[in-house]
Subunit: 236 residues, 4 copies
């Protein structure tokens, strides 16, 4: 079994695990289970962590250029190894989007937009959960309910930043910086998609000055080839 | 009567209804009528709602691919069915802009700019109204006058976000998120229009390295055709 | 004397008047002169206003399509007629920039950047002055010194919006909205200039796949013309 | 020794000096040494300042068009001459990035991204240090710890601007304006890179309508040349 095959085979199971993790994580953060429930959730999260860990090790083993792969996938090592980065494991769910898109198909710009919308929604939800979890118990914190956390995430990712709610703990601030960076990227994606669309449309409208297409030149080449054939066939 | 004809026939009446709705909505929010006035406004809004409902049903009936149409127009169903989304019905007024533009004509970039300016102004006005309506009675709310709501909307759509006024109710926050998303889109439109203009201008200035146009290649093709004719006419 | 000649002849004097207006405006706002000084400043501002008014009327009289000109220059009428919009008269100074650039020359992108930098600096300065003037006496205002007004303008035009200072009067908020819109435009100009530069550079680097230039096609056309001449000269 | 050679020879030593300056500056700001330590740091900073001063003078002497060079490098004079701008000397470290990149190579867009990421990280770190240094002793200041300064820098460069921390001193506000401008530039770079990538990808996908490449036209030219040769070789 090679690297590509392993990736194909584990795509759906791992996306499912990430989804399960999201469900359990949401549940534990929002309803703070105790006793039996807490223990089951803990074991489930441990199980999913093991799956991700095994996947990491197998891919490391199957990689053709192992050292290169190791350095290019340092972020995955960090996500697997550090419990603090646990919520980032959910980025795996973006694979789910790419899986759905592969079945739908569609143009590049449409795919970029889908990615941006889905990724942003997921990021806002996960960041709100993590922020709520981090700030809930902080004495100086202002984000005390999950709706407040969602509202905070919306004002942050759009770079509006009212400041009516803002993180006070170190964990919360790390999450916030991540969301701000995502906000800048989101702004960039929206603008770039619009710009690319406008550039194309404006070029299409400008009929007379449109760039010569490869098709046209191919036709021209065919004409000259025909000319050569005609000459060759003429009696000398 | 087919789908296209129905749309053409209802364009102006529906835009007019949306405009009437805007006027009544503005009046009820700002002067909070009671008694007779309130009842007339209520009936008028009910009447306009019926018009939009009929239009939705007729278009659903006339659509060629009904299931496909249904899913592509889910947002219209939501606007018709949910009273909470009532203000969004005003998005119909954007049709008015496109109607005006059809009569004026003009280049793509100019149309994009008109759309952005008109859409933004309308959105700021409607969002301010809805926000004022939502926050006015909230005990923890800070937006207590319509000018404050307008000022809040301006700081939000430009993503400045001073935070001197910010929504405290769930409805208010939903409106705010809508305005923030519109703000990001606005930023994107402004930047993309400028970028498209600059890319075109820079390309035009760079005379010597300008891309070969289709016109030029067409001329070349004509030259070769002439050559072939000349050869054909020569005595062998 | 026709429209163009009048514009050429009044370019420098009007830019000078605007500069004088800026100096007097800055002086009256910052040192609030009384008695003799105040009266001199008043007369000077009245004189400059007369100059702008005469220029407006003469250009209206010289315009070829008077009604069209009138509607395209409605903003100038507003600036001349409404004392509230007085500070906007300083936009005339942007002519000064274009005058300087005409003597320097230079590429389009460079000119866009110069315009953005100079226009932004001027706008920040003038908006700070107007804001300081508007908020100074407001009981609920927080902007009480000119440096605070400058700081507020910087946080607003960059859309950062800390909210430590924000306008409380209607005049102040109108100025703020103007500055926010300028901020969005500034963001757009910076991004568009960078994007246009990158698009060009990336296209230049990609040697093998560069678009065929008009020069190349012109050469090709010359080759075919030469071929036709050769054929024509051959004995039949 | 000419200008280019001097620049090549001093690249590494000056980048090293800037790095040393960064280390000493960080140390003095964070641990506020007294006695012996303070004096050593002072002498080291004086020594580095001398190095930068000598480099400035030598380059001024070696420049071909001295007056032109002087005006194009006014910012360097300011950094060398004014102790207030001391932290800006660290911009020298950007040379380090370009040195590293020269050894790695890579495409234009990749280099732009590396520059943006490295430059932003460095700027955030240095601005936080300078801000902490400026605000620490200010009675009205809110930024009292280095982590708070880092958090403030992150909310500022992303233009989020919660306003939970904002500078109160003149020095602090100058640093803040610098960071805001950097934030706008960062947004521009992110968006422009994405736009340039999208424009290219969309153009590549659109196979049939792709612009004719220079390679194609070169092939066409070769075909016509072959045709001329054939004609020339034919017996007349």
């Amino acid at each position: 079994m090679d690297y590509r095959q392993w990736e194909r085979a584990t795509e759906w199971p791992l996306a499912g695990s990430a989804l399960t993790f999201l469900a359990i994580y949401t549940w534990t953060v929002l309803s703070q289970p105790t006793g039996m429930g807490a223990r089951v959730a803990e074991y489930a999260i441990l199980g999913i962590w093991t799956l991700f860990g095994i996947d990491y090790l197998v891919r490391l083993a199957l990689a053709e250029q192992r050292t290169r792969w190791f350095f290019l996938h340092l972020h995955e090592l960090a996500i697997v190894a550090l419990p603090v980065l646990r919520p980032l494991r959910l980025l795996r769910l973006l694979t789910l989007i790419s899986l759905l898109q592969r079945s739908i198909g569609g143009a590049l710009r449409g795919r970029v937009v889908t990615y941006a919308v889905a990724g942003t929604s997921m990021l806002v939800f996960v960041a709100s959960l993590a922020m709520f979890d981090a700030e809930r118990a902080a004495p100086a914190g202002s984000i005390k309910t999950f709706p407040d956390a969602l509202w905070w995430a919306a004002t942050t990712i759009t770079t509006v930043g009212y400041g009516d709610f803002s993180p006070s703990t170190a964990t919360g601030r790390f999450i916030a910086v991540g969301l701000m960076v995502a906000g800048i990227a989101l702004l960039g994606v929206v603008t770039a998609t619009l710009a690319s669309w406008l550039v194309q449309k404006v070029a299409e409208q400008d009929d007379a000055n449109q760039a010569a297409t490869q098709q046209q030149v191919a036709e021209l080449t065919f004409q000259i080839a025909a000319l050569r054939t005609e000459l060759a066939l003429r009696p000398e």
